[in-house]
Symmetry: C2
Amino acid sequence: MPKFAKRMDNLKASEIRELLALTADPSIISFAGGLPAAELFPIDAWIEASNKVMKNNGAAALQYGPTDGYARLREHCVTRMKKVGCKDVKPEDIQILSGSQQGLDFVPRVLIDPGDYIIVESPTYLGALNAFKAYEPKFLQVALDEDGMILEDLEEKLKNHDNVKFIYVISDFQNPSGKTWTLERRKGLIELANKYDVMILEDNPYGELRFEGEIQPSLRSLDTENRVIFMGTFSKIFSPGIRVGWFNAAPEVLEKFNMVKQGADLQTSTTTQMILSQFLDDNDLEEHIAKIIEVYGKRKNIMVDAMKKYFPEEVTFTNPEGGLFLWVSLPEGLNARDIAVKAIEKKVAFVPGGAFYPESPEENHFRLNYSCMPEDKIEEGIKRLGEVLHDAVK
Amino acid sequence: MPKFAKRMDNLKASEIRELLALTADPSIISFAGGLPAAELFPIDAWIEASNKVMKNNGAAALQYGPTDGYARLREHCVTRMKKVGCKDVKPEDIQILSGSQQGLDFVPRVLIDPGDYIIVESPTYLGALNAFKAYEPKFLQVALDEDGMILEDLEEKLKNHDNVKFIYVISDFQNPSGKTWTLERRKGLIELANKYDVMILEDNPYGELRFEGEIQPSLRSLDTENRVIFMGTFSKIFSPGIRVGWFNAAPEVLEKFNMVKQGADLQTSTTTQMILSQFLDDNDLEEHIAKIIEVYGKRKNIMVDAMKKYFPEEVTFTNPEGGLFLWVSLPEGLNARDIAVKAIEKKVAFVPGGAFYPESPEENHFRLNYSCMPEDKIEEGIKRLGEVLHDAVK
């Protein structure tokens, strides 16, 4: 066996991916993954767009294309940016990515030397933690309350650490907590980033999937010193299988990402970019998103109602206004990993919360996904989970 | 502007990518890129495969899929491995990549700590050098003669440097030189890798595109101690726009690649993997490859004949038995970058050779691509280039 690089010591297989492998068993009711509802994929419209592209422009669609992305698709990304309050973005301010997970790899590659700090929400997306760890950063965790990061805690950390390179934030319907930052907190974050001269990585996969209330302006739209690197994706509003996301950031940062992209995979698939772009030309994405929102909102309500009915009262949970996930908290001392083992015996899966902390994991939480199970299974799964929880809190 | 990571100091934009941008001008005769001939893409068969997948299995094709790749496609990769002499590969020995460029990023990520050595052919593929540089390696260059790396020179380097992690080799129709290693040299390389306990990265994008002579067994097929990491791709035998390549390597190495893949982009597009796989189920790829070989072989001959006719006799060049590139050598003292500037004035583009060396570049060479220009333009382009060269050697 070869001697592997030191950075590999930090990596381990994602617990979610391993759980997903387990939940391939169709008899399992899975709240574990983050899969969009496949029955909503616009397959017929995709076929139409695909045939149009291939008949009119097939040679280009199968050929190499530019590193920064297919020009027309970058225009469509500009439209998405407007939806989250960024009115002045131009197509040249967009770098297409092979899914926004690729951005989670690129940002630390460009910004982090071993030992530099990344500040993350506590808890935060474990796929981000795994991507970041390859660059040997240190982590600082800032707790979330109902309004976002606790800014006093954030400032304390910024004040006491010199080499903080960026703050990683999912400000809308966070994965895993389902929480959304208030406007006040967003503005406060931007001020602190300016004051302490650090970058912000805004990961925004769910922002357009709001069931109720008002869309908050993205951090990027509140950015006064070009410090926010925005990541968007078509995974949750269209399809994750095509692997298309994007960056919007300051030109000098995009220039670095472009160089990194050349080394990483040259470019995102011309084929999927051109077909997606044609789909967006010919269809009303807003209408499609409205359908997704209706279905996910309903599923979320069913899950929350079932939890109220079946969970013991000692167990609390968030009630998100959008997105795909909610976060369950057990009384301290209970370990969600133990609950997960018992739940799997009853054919119900979820992701224990410990994986969502870079260090000092809080083991008494877990994440539930409500986007990809039909309503009767949500009810049944929560009922079974309630039985496990009632046993556990006894 | 943020303070970027130290590794970014090593990166610069690929000269090829910048040249490709320039050659978007359709009046330019470009021998610069490495584009496959787009007129050979099997567009109708692709449409058929795509519609079949989408109608029968569209939800799966647009959904997340496994990190290691679509199962049926991994079987097709096993078939490709047999073509290069690897008879015992199993589907689980394959990791699907978003093009083999992604492999050029993953191998140093898994093996290289800053300051470790990578041994490369001199010259070598510049896209590999750019990908490797992000991991802050040192490079050792070993010269090529007509039979492959000069093994005495290689052993000297291995003997005198402790922390050589891998040897990067394109053994068939090398980019940029067009050279192919003999069987004897291949065996000698494996012996040296065993003796000095280093890994080999075999990059094999062109191996199946042989115009004449016998296919040499791949390094992977000669591997006695599971030291060879093999990278294959569908870019040159099918389409680069879909971005699908693969690794074959020892299980403990594949395990690391799988973890890295999760962080890098979760998985390669399910959509393109499933459509490609359907295409391979329903069509005879060997027949398609035979067509490509016929066209490229003819273009290569036309280029070589034109060079014999139009180039001054002081200028020498390789005459590859396959692949997409040949390598032109000017008398020492002449600089191919100067020639490139004059050639662009005559609307002919190529890549100056200096970019293909990690250090101590030899500036009196350049690379010509013959796969993507029609025959009359090849003749005309070489004629114009001949005029520039005659002026230069005067």
